[in-house]
Point group: C2
Chain length 389, copies 2
Amino acid sequence: MSGTDHQNGEAAATIGTLATPALLLDKNRLDCNLARLSSRMAEQGVVLRPHMKTAKSIDVAQRAYPSGAGPITVSTLAEAEYFAQHGFRDITYAVGLAPHTAARAMRLRKAGIDIKVLLDSPEQAAMLGAAGRAAGVIPSAFIEIDCDSHRGGLTGTDPKLLVVATALAEAGVKLTGVLTHAGESYSLSMPAALVAAAENERTVAVAAATTLRAAGHECPVVSVGSTPTAHFADDLTGVTEMRAGVYMFFDLVMHGVGVCTTDDIAISVLATVIGTKPEKGWILVDAGWMALSRDRGTAAQRVDQGYGLVCDVAGKIYPDLIVSQASQEHGILAIRPGSAHALPNLPIGAKVRIVPNHACATAAQHELYNVVSASSDAIHARWPRMRGW
Amino acid sequence: MSGTDHQNGEAAATIGTLATPALLLDKNRLDCNLARLSSRMAEQGVVLRPHMKTAKSIDVAQRAYPSGAGPITVSTLAEAEYFAQHGFRDITYAVGLAPHTAARAMRLRKAGIDIKVLLDSPEQAAMLGAAGRAAGVIPSAFIEIDCDSHRGGLTGTDPKLLVVATALAEAGVKLTGVLTHAGESYSLSMPAALVAAAENERTVAVAAATTLRAAGHECPVVSVGSTPTAHFADDLTGVTEMRAGVYMFFDLVMHGVGVCTTDDIAISVLATVIGTKPEKGWILVDAGWMALSRDRGTAAQRVDQGYGLVCDVAGKIYPDLIVSQASQEHGILAIRPGSAHALPNLPIGAKVRIVPNHACATAAQHELYNVVSASSDAIHARWPRMRGW
């Protein structure tokens, strides 16, 4: 592992002695979350291709693949290069291609990494073909399919689908398959709607693959995925692989969607009380948006969690205590409006854990994970995160 | 300078060849912004103590102090240690004190750094006294004053003011002065209201100092500041120093407040077009919230700028083109609702610059500043940023 192991050597760090704010990762919860989706996909006979954009950590990736590197998804070429350096060779870069990323991806391909890229236009197909020729490799690409008007991609019935496939063939690019992401599932919360979103994601992707195959294009992979649809899909017929990222850690947004309980959420931010304003019902802590991120993803959900839900140092939730406001290095804890619960008595120096709205955004504010477990207050390891592009 | 200078040696980088997303810093605008507030404070006879929480860069700090280190403000002890290593010795840590930060600050003081800390309770005073004794130094502290119910601190008339001052004296801590921050000024936009907020910040701080002095406490420093009040204060009688941070770069929130024009904003995020959806009026770029931050500070202002205002690669604004949505590595550009302007024709691979809502939050997402100027497209230098706590 690339992280520091604290079991031998230097004096053992504990949650109590950690400087704050600090990011904690509960390894037991991480393992449960990893196992839950792995076994779900194994049952359905679908390859799981975890998205590393959430964790951005080789140690987490190795926890997902304890017996050796497997297929992964990444959101930047810096991630692709980082995971390739650490032995991952089957990588999908799931963000639309530009000229500079095409050239950089083809350098990785030249180095023996089976990198697949994403596009939805004949212009990108020609550009990728040129980058492949320049590097002396045959590129592999997915055509991006738009299943829910969320972002990029072609709708399943867009006649451009065959135009792009033809452009790929003409450019000497291998068509790996079709790829879609049910991003709108993040805005749902009813199980029936989530099952329907997963079924829509499947049918749109499978229909696009069917169209391509009927026109004579090989299209071996049908790749779908989002954490909500991965957990709610009833039927994955025709799907060959599932992508998901935030499922490893979960967060309050996923709790609001209904994919996890708060006890499944594996990351939290440890903070220290630095002031109290009893007359305003406030407790001030040293975790502001720099430690929590500016993400307010629960603002549009049924329960608005502010900038996070507050727990005691052992991880037990204080009823209705949330981070109601955040400035750069200050968080203001307050009881949720309308609640009858009282503000807990937390003096200066007391520590709390804050469960975040959005794991991807909060983790990105930190250099490393302090790895903890439920059974003790020891910091078992420190796992670095990569960043940048 | 600690940054890399690109004027000799390796092949010159340009905006056109930079991998995206990337943070650009216009050094001419930076210099103008620095000079504007410096000369304003010099005219008023008030010390300017720039807040380094926005820039977090020794190169920017040296630009603010070209003839040698001066007084600075910081938001974390990691910043204090970083700037101390680079020769800054007069540092105010303007976040409420906790036991671990008291001990760490006193280690800096023991190393010869004149660090001042902030508190508003007798418990913190006792804690700081103990940390000072443990380190063998006499601590210096500000009492935090709350001028606008924004965050921490004591109101100017709180009887606890004298209780805290007495506790400091009993703990063997030097009372440096009073410190307040008109954080609520960020929500204003009318010049008369901004002048009034500055005058309120001044009068509350001066009154607190007067109360302390009348009770026999030395209270040499009256420290106020926020970027809006620093630029709108008509009268600073009794104030000895001004703190501000975002004024160095400015941003769309400060533009909405009325402190700067969009042409004053010194930072922007360079992005590349990775997709188009003309049927939806969308252009997709490779700058999502990871590059822009999740900050939506203009959402509450008269003009909502989405996740940022879009300019061409030379910095000229496309009328009413904003980043309307952001996911982790995708930004969706669209024309502001209600505008008659047309979507510009930006093909795959085209580059744009995005002016951010909140300079502190956006810059924090990046490793370094790519330093540019108005006169060419060269990258003049790369200035690293520090991070963490």
